[in-house]
């Protein structure tokens, strides 16, 4: 288990050898990939796990009474067990494979929500949320007449816990919030907020899309009811992801999509459902992606998520110190302390729009994200329609950040030209 690993410094330069993208030449340089919060690079172990299924034991799962079919099923269900262990779930039946965090939240809104949420019921969200954790609840509210409430943030992007307490006093049905803000890097106090919600009688959904890649997530310690994440942000393939939920909840929920695999017995006009988690996996699953995700969490577990967290905290501290020193006038968003944030640093330059910054950095083979990062309401709150964001993963180095700082200086020179 990750929590048992002794803390030993992670060597990103050594790990980079596992990521073939760093072998590619970008105008005489490697890519300074600083957009890991959007999607992570993939290690060879993941690429080969996907290849193995595609090349050596391609078969549909749960049905084939032949060698490759049994291998595919074992690999697919084995990946579920790996993910369960990685999250410290009580059992693998609590892991539902989905395409991405977005689908997981939609699944909960459409099944648990449809059955449990009535007109006038309150759902508490936050101003920090990614659109993935907003729109499904807006759609549910439209269908049911539920009311959405929002925990505001302070100027460093922390959730206002007093306001949260006041919202809990209105007895909401559900609190859904992100464990780590993808736009600011803020780490929210998941355990405390979950306990408070439970004390108020609300269920809790945690959007762990930015938490799972960066630290050890222990769903039992969190104590929440639903936890979601995307595989493609944790070194896994696109198309992989998981919903974790307590078994009793899953069992009580109606199905999401209908089709093969999720059924037990089918008649022309009625049907009964399979056991969980398969009840929620209609049709041929993305077998290759799930197997790749299993390889990804194995890779991360071998590194130790505490080491990943330490590494990223170090990079964040380095960036928070380096950028204001090297880049005059840069504005940083989010908590000032690296201890309060994951490996995400968001900023604007006074002279150049984030899009121009990203375009100019690209010519130096530096990849950052510019825009609203799927958090328009948060950007509204920040008073900036767009920001620039650098985000890290295990393969990120201080050299990447040095290149970023130098790149930003050169952007400033372009914009200062003939001014």
């Amino acid at each position: 288990m990750g929590s048992m690993t002794a803390l030993r410094p992670l060597d990103p330069v050594a790990l980079r050898r596992d990521f073939p993208l760093f072998e590619r030449d970008f105008g005489g340089r490697t890519l300074a990939y600083l957009d890991s919060a959007a999607t992570s690079l993939k290690p060879r172990a993941v690429i080969e796990a996907v290849d193995g299924y595609n090349a050596r034991y391609t078969a549909n799962v749960h049905r084939g009474i032949y060698t490759t079919g049994e291998e595919a099923t074992a690999a697919y269900e084995g990946a579920r067990e790996k993910v369960a262990r990685f999250l410290n779930a009580a059992e693998s039946a609590e892991i539902v494979f989905v395409r991405n965090a977005t689908e997981a939240i939609n699944l909960v809104a459409a099944t648990w929500g449809q059955v449990n949420v009535r007109a006038g019921d309150r759902i508490v969200l936050t101003e920090l949320e990614h659109h993935a954790n907003l729109i499904p609840w807006q759609l549910l509210a439209q269908r049911t007449g539920a009311v959405l409430e929002f925990i505001p943030i302070d100027d460093e992007g922390r959730l206002d816990q007093a306001a949260y307490a006041a919202l809990l006093a209105t007895a909401p049905r559900l609190v859904a919030f992100t464990a780590v803000s993808n736009a600011l890097g803020t780490i929210d106090p998941v355990r405390e907020m979950t306990a408070a919600a439970h004390a108020a009688g609300a269920l809790v959904l945690v959007d762990a899309a930015q938490a799972v890649p960066h630290a050890f997530v222990d769903v039992q310690a969190w104590g929440a009811d639903f936890v979601v994440f995307s595989g493609h942000k944790v070194l896994g393939p696109t198309g992989s992801g998981a919903l974790w939920a307590r078994r009793a909840l899953l069992e009580a929920m109606p199905p999401f999509m209908g089709g093969g695999e999720m059924i037990r017995e089918v008649r022309l006009r009625s049907a009964t459902w399979n056991d969980v988690p398969w009840k929620f996996e209609a049709g041929t699953p993305d077998v290759a992606a799930a197997i790749g995700l299993g390889a990804a969490v194995d890779y991360l577990a071998a590194i130790g998520m505490e080491n990943v967290r330490e590494h990223e905290r170090g990079l964040t501290r380095y960036a928070l110190e380096l950028l204001p020193r090297e880049v005059p006038g840069i504005r940083l968003f989010g908590p000032r302390s690296a201890d309060e944030r994951a490996g995400i640093v968001t900023f604007t330059l006074p002279e150049a729009h984030p899009h121009d910054v990203a375009t100019l950095l690209d010519r130096d083979a530096i990849a950052i994200r510019a825009g609203h990062h799927c958090t328009q309401p948060l950007h509204e709150r920040l008073g900036e329609p767009a920001t620039a964001r650098a985000s890290f993963n295990v393969y990120s180095t201080t050299e990447d950040l040095d290149r970023l700082a130098a790149g930003l200086r050169s952007v400033q020179r372009v914009f200062a030209r003939s001014a």
């Binding site: 729009h353 899009h355 375009t359 825009g371 329609p385 003939s418």
Partner: protein
């Protein structure tokens, strides 16, 4: 290496032409690019002869979007509405004179999309009045 952003573009970005509002425009259209947060409001005044008499814009966004609005508004002054509506995207790209990557195309074309909508609005109003 800095020809990604020619001096002329930066010049238009810093000191945009036709920046402001019109007193009594024949059309006023807001265009936006939610993914980027680029935004412009474009106003058009059209003369008896059906030509663009005056044009102004306000906006906020990246250099590409704002410079293209600045250059394009220069370009359409004096043109007939029909001409404006027939402008191709290539016109804007030529005005910018730099290579625009696919991801930035929306920034570059925000101005022309908005200008054409404004021209169509004037024409639509005219047709409606004439009908």
């Amino acid at each position: 290496m800095d020809d990604l952003y020619r001096d002329e573009i930066l010049e238009h970005y810093r000191r945009p032409h036709n920046f402001g509002t019109l007193e009594s425009p024949d059309a006023s259209v807001e265009g936006s690019n939610p993914l980027c947060g680029d935004r412009i409001t474009l106003m058009l005044a059209v003369g008896e002869d059906g030509r663009v008499e005056d044009v102004a814009f306000t906006g906020r966004g990246c250099a590409i979007s704002q410079a293209s609005a600045s250059m394009l508004t220069d370009e359409i002054r004096g043109r007939s509405l029909a001409e404006v509506e027939e402008l191709t995207n290539q016109v804007v790209l030529d005005l910018l004179g730099i290579e625009i990557s696919p991801a930035r195309l929306k920034c570059a074309l925000l101005s022309i999309d908005t200008v054409k909508k404004a021209a169509a609005q004037v024409r639509g109003a005219g047709d409606a009045a004439g009908a």
